[in-house]
């Protein structure tokens, strides 16, 4: 996706969730569990927004609503100016979850090709290889998931989610199941891809530092029922490198977000 495309889209946000409420039905007469209450959130075109909050604050529920996997009890969802439920044609979102969810019987290349098959197109081998190269694993095209490390599998999942050039990338704790080294490596990779391509991203994470490093804006949520308690923009220069984490402004951002999280509790 070029800079030009990004500037054209500035007018309409990539994702608009308005006054979203959601409840999970109660079991055997118990009261339904209110997981989200009046949540409004917007991800601008080319913007990287992180959702942070403790477990059970509804951030995953919110992301699943954005992905069209859940229907909210009330409120409106617009993905690129469209109701995802009524969308026709190729989907505009890419999804990366904590578990990579690759097809174990397909190679890395086959897993990326899956996106093209589901999105209703055919991709040449060269296209697929280029998409693997984008996340630095072109040389592993013919390996099956069980032959790859956790970090590499997650790279395949990222390449797969980006293969149909979505305008909105939804990531649900994508590095949560990885060891610390792979996690840092993948953060760096994602940072590099994002700064090159400027895709709109909604990113759910437990890690405040991860959120500050990657995001333009950090939305802090709190549980019972899930709602937004702070919406902070990250004023750090780009392109960012990992060593930015050692600077005082970075620490100040982390402290602000932590205060927002604790202030509520």
């Amino acid at each position: 996706m070029s800079e030009q495309a990004a500037t054209v889209e500035v007018a309409s946000p990539a994702l608009e969730l308005r006054a979203i409420a959601h409840r999970y039905p109660g079991r055997r007469g118990a009261a339904p569990l209110r997981s989200l209450d009046n949540v409004t959130i917007e991800v601008g075109a080319g913007e990287f927004v992180s959702l942070v909050g403790p477990s059970g604050c509804g951030k995953t529920t919110l992301l699943r609503i954005a992905a069209g996997l859940l229907t909210p009890s009330s409120g409106s969802v617009q993905v690129l100016g469209e109701d995802p439920g009524r969308r026709r044609g190729a989907p505009a979102v890419g999804l990366v979850t904590q578990e990579p969810g690759l097809l174990p019987w397909r190679t890395a290349a086959g897993n990326v090709a899956l996106t093209h098959e589901l999105a209703g197109g055919r991709a040449s081998r060269a296209d697929v290889l280029a998409q693997l190269g984008r996340v630095g694993i072109r040389a592993f095209a013919d390996f099956h998931p069980r032959e790859l490390s956790g970090g590499m599998r997650q790279r395949v999942a990222l390449a797969r989610a980006l293969a149909h050039e979505p305008r909105l990338l939804l990531m649900d704790e994508p590095f949560g199941a990885l060891d610390e080294l792979s996690r840092e490596e993948l953060r760096r990779e994602l940072l590099r891809i994002w700064e090159r391509e400027r895709i709109s991203v909604l990113f759910v994470t437990h890690s405040i530092r991860e959120a500050v490093l990657l995001s333009d804006r950090v939305v802090v949520m709190s549980p019972g029922p899930g709602r937004i308690v702070a919406n902070l923009s990250v004023e750090l220069p780009r392109p960012r490198a990992e060593d930015i984490e050692e600077t005082p402004p970075f620490a100040a951002h982390v402290a602000r977000i932590r205060a927002a999280l604790e202030g509520d509790a």
Binding site: R64, A67, G68, L69, R87, P91, V93, G94, L95, T97, Q98, E99, P100, G101, L102, L103, P104, W105, L114, T115, E117, L118, A119, G133, R134, V135, G136, I137, R138, A139, F140, D142, F143, H144, P145, R146, E147, L148, S149, G151, M152, R160, A161, H164, L170, D179, L181, S182, E185
Partner: protein
């Protein structure tokens, strides 16, 4: 599995000749060199730090046969035990002078088998065909029905009680009716064998189609995949380990069904051979029939295992015996 560190990689670069140095099976974790990159880009150069090596050899794919040593180690103990058993049996019959209408010595069984092997081969191949036909009919219809039932709770609820009924009714009680209705020929054999293979395949099909990875399913749905795409690209491949498990259970059952149907009308196959030999107190032939059935069962199971290894290279179970 452990990612290789940079120093590991440096050590190995000196030690590894050629483009692939896969460790021998059984040595635990082994490092395997990558195929040479086609072209080195900046992204790929980054890989040189920690991820150039994967800490697991790719699983053996294809019709790989076990090594001679492996074969000896796995085959020798049971063979020795069998030989001992046969020896004791032979001695017992000779020392106690057991009459042949009660039990034959192994040597007498071997004599009967080698006297007229074509008799056993013909009966065996007829029964094998009956069992295979029944297995295809039973497993095939169970699979198709299972696909429907896995997709619709209404269909599942309306058919399941009948499937249970088929399962709990003893096949020997139903088989005579089937033989009366369908008479001579292959169909009563196919149908009896199909009836007892039906339930295990049905249950395994339904379970297999429903046991899918949640994260993968989410990805399919987020991309707007159709039911058909989910079935074809996710559910069916995910169900394969269950389908093979169902077939493994069904093979001996199909053989039982075929022999029971042959037995009732006594017109062909090992079933007929058993009925006639039983009437004559011809115990060597009865033992010969048992051996023929065992050979068929083992051959079918081995063929299935070969196909399974080929198709399920990606599944954990294929790594084990």
């Amino acid at each position: 599995m452990r990612p290789a560190t940079t120093s590991d990689v440096a050590d190995l670069l000196d030690g590894i000749p050629g483009e692939a140095a896969a460790g021998e099976a059984g040595t635990g974790v082994s490092l395997r060199r990558l195929p040479p990159p086609r072209e080195t880009s900046r992204d790929e150069a980054d890989l040189l730090d920690a991820t150039l090596y994967v800490a697991q050899p790719p699983p053996a794919r294809g019709w790989a046969l076990p090594s001679r040593r492996e074969l000896l180690l796995t085959a020798a103990p049971p063979l020795a035990a069998a030989l001992l058993l046969v020896l004791v049996w032979e001695l017992w019959i000779r020392v106690r002078e057991v009459p042949i209408y009660l039990a034959p010595a192994p040597s007498q069984v071997i004599e009967t088998l080698s006297e007229d092997p074509s008799r056993f081969i013909e009966a065996g191949s007829v029964s094998a065909q009956h069992a295979l036909g029944g297995l295809l009919l039973g497993a095939g219809s169970a699979f198709l029905l299972g696909v429907l039932m896995a997709h619709s709770r209404v269909i599942e609820r309306s058919i399941y009680p009948f499937a249970i009924l088929v399962k709990v009714t003893p096949i020997v009680a139903v088989a005579p009716l089937i033989v009366i209705w369908f008479g001579f020929g292959v169909w009563p054999k196919f149908i009896v064998a199909a009836l007892i293979t039906f339930f295990p395949m049905l249950v395994n099909t339904i379970t297999g189609l429903r046991t899918i990875d949640a994260a993968t399913h989410d990805f399919f749905l987020a991309l707007g995949a159709s039911r058909w795409q989910v079935l074809w690209r996710l559910r069916l491949p995910s169900a394969l380990p269950y389908l093979f498990a169902g077939l493994r259970i069904s093979i001996p059952l199909a053989l039982i069904g075929a022999v029971i149907a042959e037995w009732i009308r006594a017109d062909s196959g090992v079933g007929q051979m058993i009925v006639i030999a039983h009437g004559d107190f011809d115990t060597p032939t009865l033992f010969g029939a048992i051996i023929v059935l065992a050979v068929i069962g083992v051959a079918f199971t081995a063929a299935l295992a070969l196909i399974e290894r080929r198709l399920l290279f990606w599944h954990d179970s294929s790594a084990g015996p």
